[in-house]
Symmetry: C2
Subunit: 456 residues, 2 copies
């Protein structure tokens, strides 16, 4: 059967368009450390929108389920396929279809790495602001399909805020175009936003028109340490109350600091239990003013405050920040990490609840993330070879989702629902809201073949 | 029959919740000057989301079509009802449900005037950036339902960019909640964006969580006059190419200037055929720098350049800009005005095409609008008592839509499709894309009772 599948697919996309379904890289995403994986029936690598359309039409004709795949950096199992499913990897579709730097716009295919989009923009004095953690690995199509965030989403919004047009294939194999290289368009329902964050369950994104913006001339970063989340979150709220707009406003709690402190590039009091990182960006004078305000506000109640000024020191601080996830993983070899989001005034409660929930399940827990957006990577540390610990961590996660929702928050701020959070969607959405969502899914994918078992 | 309708509705919302369907203000919107109007069968004024739900449930049970209505400032006939339809006016739902200025967020009911939202924000040092032309009249629910724009959409985005949550009633009478007072949420499809711009055809927006941002400390404006669209649009593109980010980047063509020049507050060469207005906002130093850059760029090829510095002069300039639409109307007593949008590098072509199309139909034509977004209010001047001229103007509009689409643009940048542009939607959207849109409509409003005859 699987040979027949691959033969059919080769007929659609040529021999170079079909990969070996046994290749492990197509079985997993960033949830591998929780033991999630799946060997698909086949892997197809279309090289054009027409080929994607042919694959979807074929799948719809033969009742075959498709699992679109970008860079495989997702944290929700959204790109992991079942044994009867076909992975549609976009990695061969990475053309820059058009780039008009003087008009602040670019059209790229879905498989282009997000870091490449950012580099192209930067080389023309522009910024593509979305900066998900795995920008080198992740692809723009996947970032759009999950509406990925990142530290600078605080000032600049998530990926979706920068997408003005999409070309996508929807069942039963039609190419639809929504928006374009336009900055404004209200003709019809906003299919761009509907497909953004739909996790491949409504169609497959083939290419995107992205908005860019002039790169800020300068940036500065301030790092302030506090005793604990109460003091640190008070400082974060004070930044907002003062009307200062940082580009990024990040935090680490005590556990995350403990895991990563050995490589922290500045001084840090031994009893530091919370760290706030705030970045200012903009023109030179604006950055000076914003950084000055940030220091004035953040130093109240801080035990240590670093304000690196050299390029090397600033780079060292962000490199350290990027290493936090790995440092936390290294503590016990594995982690079950979530990305709940709460209203920012409930952040301290969510941070404290994470540790308490972990303790109830006999697990060390910590969190870090995008404080300004109330988005925390709440994490339970596990020995990844212990299925018992992984099970307990998942129970802890489930409890955490309830707490996040009780605080007025959501079960996912930026990673998506995928396979892993699907059982918990009804914590966040009412029966009526889920019914509306199901109606949309049924309308666009009546056979339920687009990334089944994900999101809804 | 109509008495029976009103009696039924009174049972749902009380006597004060039913208005006289003969009241003219419920018959028209801003398309009145084109002769568009409609007397509904009844007018209901719910005072709560529960009452909206009761009205929708009743309508679905009795196959009655509903036409939601905000401030009635729309330019597409989206709020005009037919004789068998019931208008649902949101004007009694204008509570501020919650306002957390220190956290940059507010939750308001749909009927609150947009100008009131902006005033509340301003009084707390904050900005609600969307600034549609009729902010005093228009209501936030209507602005969301049409994803209204305005001059400052260039820097800040349209209304939808500031909505983080919606409470809406969808058929057959269910209250759905999407998003909330959160800055990030990717749990499920983005119903907030789907309802935004859906023009009441999927449900009725009852309340919204809005994001706010600290108000900029200062602003400056520069007005530069040019010979014609080629020179003026070159200056606009030069602003973008230089990486300068104005808050607003507006234009007036020769005809619009001619209509409004008598009250222009500064000097203007007799042969000026194009005006560019650029605003800088931000912190004081940032504004100085941006305004300086704008002057440097815009003065190249300009015949006149005004850079008002006193508060009174700046206010006079913006007041004049707000009066342009009225001044153009005054020329012949009426106008048929569109809001096509094109990629900004095609703006000069669209401006010139507007005049040429008008000439072919024996009508004076002009345009002005949001240059940075490529969004032009292309306008054909008419004697509003002449049905022949109105007919010719509508033919001219239809031609304009074709030109806009041929230039890579859209038939509506910020006013919506409503009733008037519905016959032209297939110019902009492919058969496949319209099919996807229809499937969504069918899924959420299977009886087609929500604002029928609009958008799709």
């Amino acid at each position: 059967l699987k040979d027949a599948l691959s033969t059919s697919l080769r007929g659609l996309v040529g021999p170079e368009g079909v990969a070996d379904a046994g290749e492990r890289r197509f079985h997993v995403d960033a949830t591998e450390s929780q033991g999630v994986s799946g060997r698909p029936a086949a892997v197809v690598l279309p090289s054009s929108s027409d080929e994607v359309a042919a694959v979807v039409a074929w799948a719809y004709a033969h009742d075959v389920a498709l699992v679109p795949r970008g860079g495989g950096s997702g944290f929700a199992g959204g790109a992991v396929a079942g044994p009867d499913e076909v992975v549609v990897a976009l990695e061969r579709m990475r053309a820059v279809r058009r780039f008009d730097p003087h008009l602040w716009r670019i059209e790229v295919e879905a498989g282009l790495e997000t870091a490449t989009v950012r580099r192209l923009a930067r080389e023309s004095g522009l910024l593509f602001p979305p900066d998900p953690g795995a920008a080198e690995q992740s692809q723009i199509g996947g970032n759009i399909a999950t509406d990925a965030g990142g530290p600078h989403a605080f000032k600049y919004g998530t990926t979706g805020a920068w997408v003005t047009g999409l070309e996508a294939v929807v069942p039963p194999g039609e190419i639809v175009v929504a928006g374009g290289g336009l900055r404004k368009d209200v003709a019809g329902y906003d299919l761009v936003s509907l497909l953004t964050g739909s996790e491949g369950t409504l169609g497959i994104i083939c290419s995107a028109w992205l908005r860019l913006t002039p790169a800020p001339a300068a940036s500065r970063v301030v790092a302030a340490a506090y005793r604990g989340p109460a003091e640190g979150c008070a400082a974060i709220e004070a930044v907002l109350a003062a009307g200062v707009v940082p580009a990024a406003l990040e935090f680490l709690d005590a556990g995350a600091l403990r895991a990563a402190r050995a490589s922290y590039p500045f001084e840090l009091a031994a009893d530091a239990g919370f760290l706030v990182l705030a970045e200012a960006d903009g023109g030179n004078a604006e950055v000076e003013w914003t950084a000055h305000e940030l220091v004035e506000i953040l130093e109240v109640g801080a035990s240590d405050l670093a304000e690196p000024t050299t390029r090397a020191d600033v780079a060292a601080l962000w490199r350290w920040r990027e290493g936090v996830s790995g440092a936390v993983t290294a503590v016990r070899g594995g982690k079950v990490s979530d990305d709940v989001a709460v209203p920012v005034d409930r952040l301290a409660e969510a941070i404290e609840a994470t540790v308490q929930i972990g303790a109830r399940h006999g697990l060390e827990a910590c969190s870090w993330g995008h404080a300004g957006d109330g988005n925390l990577h709440a994490t339970f540390l596990v020995d990844r070879t212990s299925s018992d610990e992984i099970r307990r961590a998942k129970d802890a996660s489930a409890e955490l989702y309830e707490v996040a929702v009780a605080l007025g928050g959501t079960i996912s701020g930026e990673h998506g629902i995928g396979m892993l959070k699907r059982p918990y969607l009804d914590l966040r959405l009412s029966v009526e809201t889920i019914a509306a969502q199901r109606a949309i899914k049924q309308a666009l994918d009546p056979k339920g073949l687009m990334n089944p078992g994900k999101l809804l």
